[in-house]
Symmetry: C2
């Protein structure tokens, strides 16, 4: 039996893989609304146990900062498979980090299928989480299950960490990593997702941007007032508009004092990888129905922006009457949700203080325009020269016939928390077609990519096992 037999077996088990993914999709698990999280953790645990993985549900200790029932952290599903084959060297440990929570399904009316049904049409499986991240999770679980099935062993130790708050900023992951530090020791982490581009080539991503998520709340009269009084009562929506207008210019440049102070240029080797990334500009525009890019960027500038440009994005905004027809009121409040993407060396807490100070300095006092910190996460980048990069890259090339390296994803995840706490490289690779509508209506996964990624994970396990162990060579 060799890897070719394993890959044939994986292809033969397509229906099994799809069925398990469907049962995951059918258990809705929206972390933003605290919906079905414990239930979904149980579904994940069941699928992992069925796969032959030793599985436990982890909770935070009751006396932890989030131990109270009102703000209880969703459980983490932890899994482990130890390599049985004896060797002179201690076996290396590969961790799969994934999440079972999903983004909210709204706007529900734009879905063509029930977002929690997992409808299959040809090579497509539709549903919230089909790609992000239930589809990715299933490829990791199935890789281990099928490897065990064919070889009766795994080539290296395997650990699973499946959390339930990734979509709201992995609120408690750091606490979990601290509480279960010894259980979670490993030599490398395969990140929860990875994109596959228009040419069906995976993009191996070595870093993530950071995030500062805030809410600005502008308050006006103590209730919605008749708009004829707008000559006397200041409208909180107008105040919010003026505050927002101070934050960025029309090019997207952030005007907050010292915002870019710690931002460093890309290194020379990082720049080298920028050149190798590809991006289909026309396809992207068609996909999103847009005519031009912000600031008309093109070519290498697109890569540079995705990898290294900090952003200030309005994710949501609401005030007053938004129903049908007309209602003539001065709203009582107006609020906006903003996500700032950060790059390495930007500290979310410091940036938050800069934002607050800037608003006050511009005349928006905290009594009438409050700023809430909802979430902060620093950016992270794995060194492009780490040997783990080659392990992943070779495995991807074997299955996909190619692979691209990206210095950083434009998106955010708690990679910094992992790389700092576990002191290991984290690499993102996966099955998510770049236009698979993650976070949008009609999200889908492609079964051809799910199968390829399952194979790729097996290849990574094999190659990783034959490399050196960090723990062995670099005792802490």
């Amino acid at each position: 039996m060799d890897r070719r037999d394993l890959f044939s077996y994986i292809d033969s088990r397509k229906d099994d893989l799809i069925a398990d993914l469907q049962s995951l999709i059918r258990q809705r698990s929206v972390s933003a609304k605290k919906q079905g999280l414990e239930q979904c953790a149980a579904v994940v645990a069941g699928i992992m146990i069925k796969a032959g993985i030793n599985t436990r549900i982890l909770n935070l200790p009751k006396d932890g900062k989030s131990g109270d029932q009102n703000n209880r952290a969703p459980p983490i599903v932890y899994g482990e498979v130890k390599a049985k084959k004896k060797s002179s060297r201690p076996p290396k440990t590969l961790m799969f980090y994934n999440h079972y929570d999903v983004q909210p399904e709204d706007p529900i009316e734009l879905w063509e299928h029930d977002p929690y049904e997992g409808v299959v049409e040809g090579d497509y499986i539709y549903g919230r989480g089909s790609s992000d991240d239930k589809g990715e999770l299933i490829t990791r679980i199935k890789a281990v299950e099928y490897y065990l099935k064919i070889f009766g062993d795994v080539p290296c130790n395997i650990k699973f960490l499946v959390e339930g708050e990734e979509e709201i900023g992995s609120v408690h992951v750091e606490e979990y990593l601290a509480s279960y530090h010894d259980d979670l020791a490993c030599d490398g982490v395969i990140w929860e997702f990875g994109y596959v581009n228009e040419q069906n080539i995976p993009i191996i991503t070595l870093g993530m941007k950071g995030l500062l998520f805030v809410e600005l709340i502008s308050t006006g009269p103590n209730r919605d007032a008749h708009s004829s009084l707008a000559v006397l009562i200041e409208n909180p929506a107008w105040k919010l508009v003026r505050a927002l207008n101070k934050l960025t210019d029309s090019s997207g440049k952030i005007l907050i004092t010292d915002w870019y102070k710690e931002v460093r240029d890309l290194t020379e080797s990082e720049k080298t990888f920028l050149q190798t990334e590809s991006f289909d500009e026309i396809r992207f525009k068609t996909e999103y129905g847009i005519h031009s890019f912000l600031n008309n960027v093109q070519g290498i500038e697109i890569q540079r922006a995705l990898v290294s440009m900090p952003t200030c994005n309005i994710a949501g905004m609401i005030s007053g009457y938004t129903g049908e027809g007309a209602k003539t009121i001065i709203p009582s409040t107006a609020s906006v949700k903003i996500d700032f993407r950060l790059v390495p060396e930007m500290n979310p807490t410091v940036q938050f203080e800069r934002l607050k100070k800037y608003l006050v300095d511009n005349g928006f006092d905290e009594r009438s325009l409050s700023v809430r910190f909802l979430h902060g996460e620093a950016a992270s980048r794995t060194d492009v020269n780490d040997p783990f990069v080659e392990t992943v890259s070779e495995s991807a090339q074997e299955v996909y016939g190619g692979a691209k390296i990206s210095v950083s994803s434009p998106a955010t995840g708690p990679m910094d928390t992992f790389s700092k706490n576990l002191n290991v490289p984290c690499i993102s690779i996966g099955s998510t077609f770049i236009y698979s509508k993650m976070h949008s209506p009609n999200e889908f996964a492609r079964t051809d990519l799910l199968l390829k990624t399952t194979k790729c994970m097996c290849g990574i396990m094999d190659r990783f096992a034959s490399g050196y162990s960090r723990k062995e060579n670099h005792p802490e």
Copy 2:
């Protein structure tokens, strides 16, 4: 039997008046949502018939511009009582104009009682429409009912016009006035509402501001997109913020080119009445929980602003994710509802074109920022020297022990349509306590004011009958 007997009788019928008002409140009739309008018209008709008023339900002819079933105009309830007593001169006709539709009840969670229950607590009746305008309507109907009961006749001809779209801008009133022009001829109109101030003195209002209600819709990607793409995809919420920021400055001054071109100063006699109006600044601030007025206006400047300042007000605004927690998206659209209050000589259509041109001139092209005209209504003012003003003023002083004259309400109604189409003076007087939370949660009416206003309407009928008839003296 004289007016004193009538007034005693009115006081004795308080429970009857409240019961009929409750049955009106209990029939929800939200025109913005096309809820229960025909049903409410039937409830109104029933109460009018019970009062001894000849009542008909008017509809627009099928071949009218709104004859199609998809956009059918709600019915108008028309009522008539002819004076039986013969006189050498043709009797004069007084019209009561009211509406049976109400504002939406949102935000529902802020109501302390069911908005459609009409809960009575002491002198207060709570419910959507309790003041605006079901409470006012009931005072007019009950004035006629009790007058007939005591005297067996009315002193002048009476007409009722009760429409169902006032809260969405009286969309079809002009068409009704044209279609039923001969039925609706009269010599003066008592407007649908009137405020009573903190000293329990009614404010007799001779005009209303106009209104231009628009919606701006900014479009971005064809679906909500992952916000990591904000480096490439322009965010429609940002575009909307920039467009809004161009419309006004922080003082509320409207920056649209030529916006104030036709605005005239108040006349000298209008200015005289400004001085006599009173306004309790401290009470007003306490009531709305605000610390200061826009631009820190005070004294006579407050009156001037209420009567004659055009406004640009954000009534509602929405974009992207507005639920709990965080969702990191670039919204697909962003929209805002704006009401502009207009003063005499400003034409809503002309102002709308100025708005559109201004946005295009400032770089917001119509493809990505569309502007929808939702409603337009011109301002109106009855001459302060019209004899009808004295008729109303004397009647108010008799019942309330005082009365104030206001040149114009800061609010809007189709007064211009009436005064132009029927060629008669329109005067606003009524029972609505100035802090009775019209358009807000916990709207209420005060029974003491409902009874006083019922009496006042009887006094107006008496005094109006003894004045000259416009139709007689000013044949058209």
